[in-house]
């Protein structure tokens, strides 16, 4: 087993608001190996985006990492200086955001924005950065990269802009790429292209990827390991085959049942009733209690632990307390 590139240990990121403390990420642990692609799955409000921003050190006020460790190649990112963090950001850890339309600065050319990080992290001259930027634009499949280099973001389509974002993120050959719902805002046909592109680029560079998504279709196509998050916690954590074949948490099951599958055509898709409860509102018992079809009285009184029910398969559910149960 190869060494872990990133290890998140018992991460807690809380938001201190006027109405009290909101525990958006509440004791999350996982690790990413070199070259591994991991997916963090969950509905909005589950804490997956805040987890990724915590790793980047970009949780804005009033949010704060209150506990836990984020070890990147052994260095704890929660304790290193701003200066050292900046050296990692965009260089060793890069991020792609959900909204390509608003994630590029409208007042600067695409070229300016890509070469900015190349100049910063690789100490490249203006000309070198330009050559490298155009090369990156070509790599992400942008036609006429020289022209796009001097274009402004508003002149490009959403798919093109996401390609630019990818080019920007990968321009310094990061060891870890965090992609926060990179295809959600795009058309379905463009989504497939972008995913294909990301897959190719990973294999070329041996980059680890942390993919944040709510789309299990994307997960099946490109990841090795899956983390399912609910209300700020990890509820299930295992490899992608097991998730699809034998989900052990009722929430995972619910997510799978609400994803359309081609080979088992059903009349109607099931959905999970309700929405993720606001963090901090459920103080007693399992956080999925309000929406769980299998909840028992224990689920309302005691909070389950994340437990390894078999090697490399962790579940946070009382159902499997006395051994594995099929659900």
């Amino acid at each position: 087993m190869t060494e872990a590139l990133l290890e998140v240990k018992d991460l807690k990121t809380y938001f201190h608001t006027e109405n009290g403390v909101v525990p958006s990420v509440d004791g999350v642990s996982f690790s990413i190996k070199k070259g591994e692609t991991i997916a963090v799955v969950g509905e909005s409000g589950s804490g997956k985006s805040v987890t990724s921003l915590s790793i980047m050190g970009l949780v804005g006020s009033p949010g704060k990492i209150v506990d836990g460790k984020i070890l990147f190649e052994g260095k704890d990112l929660t304790t290193i200086s701003n200066r050292d963090m900046r050296k990692l950001r965009g260089n060793e850890i890069a991020m792609i955001f959900q909204e390509p339309l608003t994630s590029l600065n409208p007042l600067f050319t695409v070229g300016n924005q890509i070469s900015e990080s190349i100049k910063l992290h690789q100490k490249a001259s203006k000309e070198e950065a330009k050559v490298k930027s155009i090369e990156m634009l070509r790599k992400v499949g942008i036609p006429r990269p020289e022209k796009v280099y001097s274009s402004y973001p508003h002149m490009l389509s959403g798919g093109m802009r996401q390609r630019v974002m990818i080019a920007m993120a990968l321009s310094c050959n990061p060891k870890l790429l965090i992609a926060d719902e990179p295809t959600t805002a795009l058309d379905v046909t463009i989504q497939a292209q972008i995913l294909q592109l990301m897959r190719n680029l990973i294999h070329e560079n041996d980059t680890s990827i942390m993919l944040i998504t709510h789309d299990l279709g994307v997960v099946a196509e490109m990841v090795d390991t899956v983390i399912v998050m609910y209300a700020g916690q990890v509820v299930e954590y295992t490899d992608v085959y097991t998730i699809f074949k034998e989900p052990k948490h009722p929430y995972t099951k619910g997510l799978l049942d609400s994803t359309p599958k081609i080979h088992e055509l059903k009349d109607e898709l099931q959905s999970i009733e309700g929405t993720v409860p606001a963090p901090g509102t459920i103080t007693k018992g399992c956080r999925f209690q309000t929406r769980c079809p299998l909840a028992t009285s224990k689920c309302f009184s005691e909070e389950p632990e994340l437990k390894e029910i078999r090697p490399n398969h962790q579940v946070r559910c009382w159902l499997h307390e006395e051994g594995e149960v099929a659900i």
């Binding site: 980047m56 970009l58 701003n82 963090m85 900046r86 050296k87 990692l88 950001r89 965009g90 260089n91 890069a94 991020m95 955001f97 909204e99 608003t102 994630s103 590029l104 600065n105 409208p106 007042l107 600067f108 900015e116 990080s117 910063l120 992290h121 402004y152 508003h154 974002m165 920007m168």
Partner: protein, 304 residues
Amino acid sequence: MGKYLIRRLLQVIPVLFIISFVVFCLVFVAGDPVALMLPEDASQEDIELLRESLGLNEPFHIQYFTYMLGLVQLDFGDSFRYNQSALPIVLERLPATLELAIAAMIIAIVIAIPFGIWSATKKNSPVDFLATGGAVLWKAMPNFWLGIMLILLFSVTLGWFPVSGRGDLSHLVLPAITLGTGIAAEMTRLIRSSMLEILNQDYIRTAKSKGIRNFFVINKHAFRNALIPVVTITALQTSTLVGGTLVTETVFSWPGLGQLLIQAVNTRDMAIVQASVFVIAFIVILMNLIADILYKILDPRIKY
């Protein structure tokens, strides 16, 4: 660009036209300047004679036509106080006013940009409190009172600067601070709220995720975006600036357009009043035009 400029300049014409019409109507309604132009013991015949020669007995539309005919030749009539054409008198005062306005604008920018940015990036900090509190206080303080208080402190008590008049740089300091801080207050508030909005944008997060130093994130990525609304609104504020100049000039006996205008108003020297109004309106419109052009330079999304 050229086409846009022409279109924009053409839009100025109706505005100037309306202003001229309104000014003419007001002067027409005001009636006779004759009584003021002749000695008090002038006979009825003299008055009639002067009225006739000034064309004041003509009907409204004829008078308006004569007035417009003069206007297109930049002739606003003669000032009876100075006994010469009004426009040159007004233009002669313009440099003093521009000097004051430009100095004030520089002071405003020097104060407003750092404070606006700083208070937005350090929201709820002491600096933010100072900036927002100062902005409200300056808004509440009548500008002329601030000027008087500055004179009281720096001229009367400390004797650092002259009390009034125009001359070397020391004369400029107090009036420029009076006017400049007044504009800075509004500008700081604008930059702050504009920056606060921009700092929440996705592209700021992108810039941070690239590992760019906070200083550059704020001053390169955020500030240029924040400047766009600020430029627009500042241009709209030119009329406030001009209004402020009028009052400040009076407080400091600054020999500019404002002082001239207020004297003219007091003596009902309508030719000077009309010429001043036109010059000022023209400057305001010009400033808006410049702002529009600046706006397009700053924002590549706007097409001409």
